[in-house]
Symmetry: C2
Subunit: 229 residues, 2 copies
DNA sequence: ACGGCTATGTCCGTAGCCGAACATACACCT
DNA sequence: AGGTGTATGTTCGGCTACGGACATAGCCGT
């Protein structure tokens, strides 16, 4: 069977994948909200390209990024533990494609206690570590580091150097003012790390971007490798 | 059977509790580190009094609070998903008592797929929501709100109005400078919300403390009620 | 009673970010 | 080609917290 492009699915044994394959629907996602906070989660999302974000809503109307999901993971993980009501927003931030599995089919599959359940339980550890790292990051690191971190995640998700992303969206995810992003992005551009124009960002020097980022990007990668690699 | 004092355990059916009871060891905890990051998790901790914190380590040596565990929860939750290596520090911040369950006995019990496993899977949703809220909180709220939030959590854990806690520890948990806590705590004292002296804090006006706190305290309570209440 | 440790109070200059407004300029649509 | 909407650039004062230092004072030991 051909690889799906999603790492969680592609690590499953052949028979599990064969059973799941006909239940998966491939869908193109732009920049759009997939699930609003407090809404019902209708699907589990397995990205193959693009970037999905988990956003925590605040009373003042803002929503802050707490984790991202690319082709290495799954969005809608609370379904695994029987909760089909979203506490957080699930937003497609970078256009791409995802494999969708209806909540009912998902529940049936993980109820079998097979490989997918085991895989997702481990993935939940990774996600929890990522969220915890974000919490520490938001308390300890400055905007330049956090922006570089986020751009690396975007770069990974997009799987190409150039992807659609506005400063407005970046500011919203980090919970900072848009002019702050404008200024910080400008220094990254002046240093040759990135280029951008009206809604499009291009990564020019990924290595330097990793240096500009805080440790949190590397920590996330390492945790994934430690638990699921 | 008498109530253990830990809400997770006390919600279990009688036969599950009877099976677990002889395996639990009651232990007094002061202000001490229970598990260092990267160390083996030897026990699951079910607090009955006191407050345990989950701390995310940073490269610079600091550790930031990402969640707290009181008598409503359990520390060492990664054991549930088969990970016995701690990514985060587990620290007893406020003296109290916990029921300890050895990792091997814990694994055997949750391997049965009984009530404890179900309960803990739901609790993991609560914990994940709490960590996500901390991430948003650290990005969006000022020190006064965050300190009030933390003091409320301490108050809940201690179960009395007066408990041992230094400004140094508070500063470490929030990832801020100690003089900042000194100044902020002073304003709370001037307003009559708390009193303190050398390592001891007293909550005088809990209602006002809730008003001074950000929404994050109430959100945490609500999520617990929604998922486990 | 005394000395020493630790917790707390206080100060200062500086950095980072907020909050808000306004100016510019690109891209799309007609 | 022109108009419109949106993305980006830029400025400003003000506030919060940093980072580091030093002073005070309560508590514990001997």
């Amino acid at each position: 069977m051909a690889a799906s492009g999603n790492a969680l699915l592609d690590r499953l044994p052949g028979d599990d994948r064969a059973r799941l394959a006909p239940l998966l629907t491939r869908m193109s996602l732009g920049h759009e909200t997939l699930v609003e906070p407090t809404a019902r989660i209708r699907y589990a999302y397995f990205p193959v390209r693009g970037l999905i974000s988990i956003m925590a809503p605040l009373e003042d109307g803002r929503s802050i990024l707490v984790a991202t999901v690319g082709s290495e993971g799954m969005a809608g993980l609370t379904l695994l533990f029987g909760s089909s009501t979203a506490r957080h927003g699930i937003v497609s931030e970078i256009a791409g494609e995802s494999l969708l599995l209806a909540a009912s089919a998902f529940a049936e599959e993980v109820g079998r206690g097979g490989a997918l359940r085991t895989e997702l339980e481990r993935y939940s550890l990774v996600l929890m570590a990522q969220i915890a790292q974000t919490a520490a990051c938001n308390a300890a690191h400055v905007m330049r580091q956090r922006l570089a971190h986020l751009l690396l995640l975007c770069h990974d998700g997009a799987q190409v150097d150039t992807f659609g992303m506005t400063q407005e969206f970046l500011a919203g995810m980090l919970g900072v003012q848009r002019p702050g992003i404008s200024h910080t992005a400008d220094t990254l551009r002046a240093e040759g790390l990135i280029a951008y124009r009206r809604g499009t960002i291009q990564v020019l020097d990924r290595r330097a971007l990793e240096s500009a980022s805080c440790e949190c990007y590397a920590v996330g990668q390492a945790e994934y490798g430690r638990i699921l690699g």
